[in-house]
Symmetry: D2
Subunit: 496 residues, 4 copies
């Protein structure tokens, strides 16, 4: 067994941050196994590590592993180490190779009043500022995860109960968070004031559940109750008589909800219902609107799998051009994607995708992709499609162009590395990619596809800052970092 402690890391402060998934259940005899299943359904939100904490009315138990949920948590021996009727878990993604076990959530602290575990989806925009302040007050940080500051805020709160301390800690946080916490009797779910990241409340035979997406309820046959609201803290508790109570607190100043549009465009699983809207349907409508806005005559509509498939189906249905699997995805890439060798990386996208020549050769191809995130991929795919004999290659992207970085838990490049900032216009971008034409869905087309209404510029219904620059919260760390030694604590930074 080995250990590379956090002070050995050399993380780039500009490093990308990605999504995570959270799950918790209260009062069920199979709480640990159900949490493993819930996390499996949320695996698309984080493939690098997973953790589960349970409480068995005597002590807390924890298992945290690098790798997929299915790699570790389907092992009966592992589940046997997670007894109890309260459980919560977390899946995590990190773009660095430096992931270390002590960063894997849930994080735990033994307080005077008993233990508390927390798991976080999102990113605090004042995380480094808080960390710096806590260290100056004598706190010892063991992880490089921003989430740990919440633990320290809880530990230092002067409030009495663990749930009061939890709410107290939330008051210091800026940015995006859907948090699940757990004590000896409580399971708590909380969403930030804007409700940037999703969190739903479910029910399995009367036992409350929190999950990032509804697909985690479906896998265990649980009912969807409602979304946790923006700015809401929902506290489920087992009472001494065994009854389960559910309370709701709204400690923050009220704000309109602004769910992250990228959940619809990219992150959420197509069968999930996010903010009351089916994700597959929204994506298909993005394709329909894209066909309306950016029709071109062609022989086949080919999705860039798997993200582009629903929009491609929509585009094909709207345009009447046949939908064909012109690109085949290799589903066994597995670990390769995470840690490729240099020589294999040079071969690039072909490890994951291959052209289905018979459907491409001699044809005018419309490639439908979900977003402009992975431009390198686009360049290589266009090249692959051309080598397979396509007569024309037209790219249609089912979301607007990304023009600003995200600071709420999504993996976006630094501003200067964004495709939009490296090209004068879409035409230059198109030439660089090597396509015959390139068109993006408009922001209006996206709002229509997701919410059925135009964007309200005074109070947008969603957060769309990567497309518009309209950030829903202050960016304290970022602003601070431009002023005083921004990189000093850079090595401590990593998001959940």
């Amino acid at each position: 067994m080995t250990d590379s402690p956090h002070f050995n890391l050399d993380l780039d402060g500009d490093t990308l941050r990605e999504e995570c998934g959270v799950f918790g259940i209260l009062g069920h005899p199979d709480a640990g196994a159900l949490t493993a299943l819930g996390l499996h359904a949320l695996q698309h939100r984080g493939q690098e590590a997973a953790g589960i904490v349970t409480f068995d009315s005597r002590q807390f138990h924890s298992e945290r592993h690098l790798g997929l949920v299915g790699d570790h948590f389907t092992d009966p021996a592992t589940l046997a180490k997670l007894p109890g009727t309260i459980a919560m878990g977390h899946v995590r993604y990190s773009t660095t190779g430096e992931t270390i076990l002590r960063n894997v959530q849930p994080l735990f602290a033994e307080l005077e009043v008993g233990g508390i575990a927390i798991a976080h989806n999102g990113n605090f925009t004042n995380g480094l500022t808080l960390r710096r302040q806590l260290i100056s007050e004598g706190a010892i940080c063991q992880s490089t995860s921003d989430t740990e500051v919440v633990l320290h805020l809880i530990a230092r709160s002067r409030r009495q109960s663990s749930s009061d301390r939890f709410v107290d800690a939330l008051m210091h946080l800026e940015g995006a968070f859907s948090l699940v916490a757990m004590t000896r009797t409580k399971l708590i779910g909380a969403r930030d004031a804007n409700g940037i990241r999703p969190l739903v409340l479910g029910d399995l035979d009367g036992k409350p559940i929190f999950a990032s997406e509804t697909c985690a309820l479906d896998i265990i046959g649980a009912k969807f109750v409602r979304d946790v609201q923006n700015g809401e803290v929902v506290i489920c508790e087992i009472q001494p008589d065994g009854r389960i109570t559910i309370d709701s607190v709204k400690p923050f100043a009220p704000r309109p909800e602004r769910l992250c549009l990228f959940e619809y465009v990219y992150f959420a699983r197509p069968d999930s219902v996010v903010g009351g809207r089916n994700v597959y349907g929204a994506r298909k409508r993005m394709g329909i609107n894209l066909a309306r806005e950016a029709y071109i005559d062609a022989d086949v509509v080919v999705p860039v799998p798997d993200g582009g498939t629903p929009a491609a189906i929509g585009y094909a249905q709207q345009s009447g051009i046949p939908f064909e699997l012109g690109i085949i995805r290799n589903h066994y890439v597995g670990r390769t994607f995470i840690e490729p060798s240099q020589s294999i990386r040079a071969l690039g996208v072909k490890l994951k995708h291959s052209a289905n020549r018979a459907e491409i050769e001699g044809k005018r191809v419309i490639l439908v992709d979900d977003s402009s995130v992975r431009v390198t991929t686009s360049v290589k795919i266009v090249q692959m499609i051309r080598e397979a004999g396509a007569r024309e290659v037209h790219i249609r992207v089912a979301s607007p162009m990304i023009t600003h970085s995200d600071y709420y838990g999504i993996d976006t490049p630094d501003p200067e590395k964004l495709l939009a900032n490296q090209h004068a216009d879409v035409e230059s971008m198109c030439r660089w990619i090597g396509a015959d034409s390139l068109q993006f869905l408009s922001i209006g087309g996206l709002y229509d596809a997701v919410g059925g209404r135009p964007r309200n510029p005074l109070s947008p219904q969603f957060t769309d800052h990567y497309f518009t620059g309209d950030y829903p919260t202050p960016l304290t760390d970022l602003d601070g970092s431009t002023r005083h030694e921004p990189r000093q604590f850079a090595l401590m930074r990593e998001a959940g």
Copy 2:
């Protein structure tokens, strides 16, 4: 490091056998890495283990690992252990949990005339008979793989050169085989007299390649030259002056080719060209013919992913009913599928599939699947679709019903366990599955989709014994086993 040698196995003689994939390249400085890539493209033919052997003009090198190609062979340290300009590899699938490293191919033997490595896709129908005979003559078998008998036959051949010995050994074999072999100067590819399993000859900058499917050529940018013919042995050799010669031998009595139809129905990757026919196109035509033979009025055509997708696209195009992703596949199942815990296994198909409720609820659904192999899956999927609110569920299977077991390397149940043999008719089967209707593609419809011509009953163009009982070769082991102690060597049996 541990080892459970073969005599500790308790394999069931009736155990299922599955496909494998083979790849080899002669004369290329990156032979090892290119073989790793070729195997990666063939990963769908075997996910349990992979092996590569190279020769660097001084000695043979070998790496064999349980797991995916991408788990091990993308590691530069592993590739560094595979130097040389001749390389070959194998991916393997086994349905038992007993897979052991010594069964992982390529297998190797040091002969008087130098070393020889072999890799096998297929199954010998007289493998146990040969093994029994070899043991009685003093051979010591180290693996439980049928492929090892080829090594012993080569070692015992009285012929002089290693390629002559290889051909000599082939003369003893019955059944299905696409074999690749390698000596210090030669790379050899061979197909059985019926050409049941595929094998193609490719070319990368003048260097010959053998591969199970063309997709392994595409991934490294190699050209497809031609299929190795049924009954043909192709011998590529580096001459002392560095030139590469390619010879062809046809040692067997000539027979018409009978490629396995299941390659088109199920095994081969959609972008591969097998026997001169694009697999995706063939599958889509199966769906088109299915819509012609078994049309029903409905609201959506939903593929059982991923196998059913091409046929569902064909069915939807032919019928005019919209194609929708009504079932979402979880791509992170990974290891779970291989070794599920008992409790997780009980939850069944939901780990891999979930209903996309918004596209199902209140609708009449046509489910299109590729074959009738996994009935349990069908039952659970119908149940899942019904729970998601489908008004009607109609199953359309894009191949005929399986009525006979396969003995050529495909995982089919024993005859008595086949769905066809447990139900009086399709209606009873349909009731058991819980569908509103159930229809299979006819054998004629399948022949038309794959070959464009009706089945010639006197000399079928393909082998279709699982649908018709018309086996293309003797079944020596099976016949023998009904006579004298068939199970005695059962524990030795496993297929490649």
Copy 3:
């Protein structure tokens, strides 16, 4: 990679505590590798885990592993991860199977003024009391090691420099400690006011070294400079101009030194010089004094290997009875001792020892052992010697009987489990063991052997509480725990 976090432990609050070893070096280009060698020489002080921290003038590096130093830290790849000219390390022993990586020292904290690492040999008698207080003030403890409280005390100190903070933290500690600490420029060694645990200052080409014993200096060819004095803090620092300064601070109220006698009796390596006295010589004199005090006529003097060998040589020389290897030790027991299976454990001592029958049969045997710690072992050894045909078996123990538990880092049973407290007198003990006679060295004989002078009862020259009950410090945790809920934090308890 897996992780069983501390709240999953089920440690017994009464669990045994054992010795550890520390090493540090400042200013040497091979600091990491030299520390590995130093720890290897100190391996007898802790075999369960080892850790090294280095600083390379840019950042801290750390490697911590379960197992022997030679299992991990001889690997060039591991040493390559430990660059820098300042290094320190720790070897650790724990009798529980629950050892977890996060308890392995050195422990590290990132302070406002920079990082600090610490390693501890000894045990705080107020560790739990301090931990409880720190948690009530909002500290989050990540390990179950008492040593972590020092880190928190340092982090919370209001002093400016890291060395001032370190000294500040020491003022809160009771009990036994030899501590080594390290910052970006300093290496610090400290001994508690009584000097219970040893710590020496060495010198390699002008570079200062701290080590638990002189044998760690010998292995790298370093010179012994002097003992760190009881109550002394020695601060070595690299100045900006590269010079190394060495300062000494004595922050505690002065007290006479009371080194732990068990270092001479049992712990220290025979070739070490502890407190100015050669350990092998002291042990041999214990055997000489034992022969004077407890002579008996016999045929052979047989050591219980390896601990009893020096005293047996002394006994044989003094008594004139031949010294023979009547018990052979199996040196390959290795891991077996750490984690035996139940069935193997039942076979007991024979795994480690076997009788050398030819030297035993028909003889009157004097068995010489070092201490009365492992009575079960004695019982089994006597039985083994009798089965080998001994005519008489006389046990002579080269130290007094243990009558009180230790709380300063030595593995001693709870008071009620001590052999002395389970028998009315030595005769009853002798009968239980099955020996013909049993005698212990007197406390006077021990003082004479170690220090050459009688025990000063008003101010004993050593701490000898396990023999006399005369504890050199308050026992705050123990006293407190008898009053209020002693077991509440029991799970947090573990010693270094």
Copy 4:
């Protein structure tokens, strides 16, 4: 799981060969666990790998692991995989780093008449010749172990029963072997015609046992029955009625026994009785004779631990010079010894030994070692003793100088690398080592110490070829290899 098959090895044909240990038991319900214990007692004969095979009246079970017996075979889970009442095992040592699992014994073959497992201590002097012949006849060798040729000879025998086949195979073998074999009903022990390697027959409650040394009987409380005689094959069999029969066969032409003297000098455990003589006693007598032959006035007699200790005790008793532990051995070297890093290796002997300065400084030291095998060690030890302040250093070696290589399983250098062949005389050798004097025990002194009688030059009572060049058997491989392509099969060569 990984695998580097044998053809990847780059073994040097001149490589050293070392001892092994074998154990077997018939008819005991705990056969597997008892074999693990027996192997643990034989661990000194081979530390690199261990294996056990059992038969449970239904099938054979096998566990083979690299590492110590105590690392793997004390695990109840491992023992649970070894059910049955017949068991045998093997411990193995190899000086190469290339040890691979497939070379770990027992080796196994499935014959027509059922399975057979064999384990071998010794080395065949015609092993390569046999291997070459077997390969030319079509045998496929899977290991690089000479022992495998026995399996092939058994498999090819025309005899009927497995024990007849085993005896048949023995007739082809030259050199040294103590073999244990096992079938479904039999346990067989065999020694070569000269009886070079030891093998004893034991008894535990009526169940027969074979073991390399008596210490393996002692650990499980079994009785010593007798030595298996040179040239004898002892066949123990469970009869259908449960009775155990023991037969003896002497298939070879009769020869006088010539046990290997190195068993007494170096290999066997001191508490073992080999050839009816206690090893510790023999070694002590070597020391006594050495003091008689090579007395010198000095202050202390210091053993080079642990091998030199018994002879040093004898030397001290005979000479009247005090015996002291002037060199302390570090017992935690463990794995370091097996695979040291280059930088650590350069530090040499100090990892294992350290000078006990207090017993050395200012003294005239007699160092007693067991043999002249490890000269490099001597050089470093003399240097270490001098650095510790010795006034004089005199080396006394308790066996004659090695002048010839061994080919029967002992690790000796090639002739040209032997110390004896690199120096004109003992004085030159002494200067090179840096000692003040150097003396070896005479061959006569050794014979007297071991057997009590002078060497009979016409028919020596032991084999002593490394001292005298008088080889007891032909050296077929060696002679052949000087004539035709000796290195061709060199890579196949490794000893058990």
